[in-house]
Symmetry: C2
Subunit: 97 residues, 2 copies
């Protein structure tokens, strides 16, 4: 029953976290600042959702050095796989309607 | 930018509320008890999400009398329209990936 799978996904059920993963999926790694701009959320809000994704093993947060140290967000293999599964489930649900 | 629309939808962004609307959309009106079984959530949890949907004008809660009084949940025209819009937005997002 796909509806139950939708309801039970506590990591990707949140639209901001789903948005983060959707943006990361084709890109692999992006800067925190870019993600914040694209999603139009506050740094604190984005940070809190990234921590949840990091705990779940869906993303890795790293420091990169451009002109100055910046936080980068990288999708993990597990994160890409779980997001793919979730999207297939969503697509199936949408196709049933 | 579809990602921003995803992030900003506070009513349908919650997976339980989206699940409720997805179940209601082709059916129009269902019993509270049926909805609870299908989504596998507690009565209190379902009730709280239904109140949010009712406040947003997406559903109407009514009493029906079968063998005994029961709560029924009915989708409103506005609820059907907004859910349709959200699903089209989701589909567009998914098709971009």
């Amino acid at each position: 029953m796909e509806l139950r799978k939708l309801v039970k996904n506590h990591v990707l059920g949140n639209p901001i976290r789903l948005g983060i993963m959707l943006y990361l999926l084709p890109r692999g790694k992006v800067l925190f600042k870019e993600l914040q701009k694209v999603l139009d959320v506050t740094p604190g809000n984005l940070d809190s959702h990234l921590k949840t994704l990091e705990k779940a093993g869906y993303v890795k947060l790293t420091k990169v050095f451009a002109d100055r140290p910046r936080t980068a967000v990288e999708i993990t293999d597990n994160g890409a796989e779980e997001t793919g599964k979730y999207l297939r489930m969503l697509k199936e649900l949408l196709n049933q309607i």
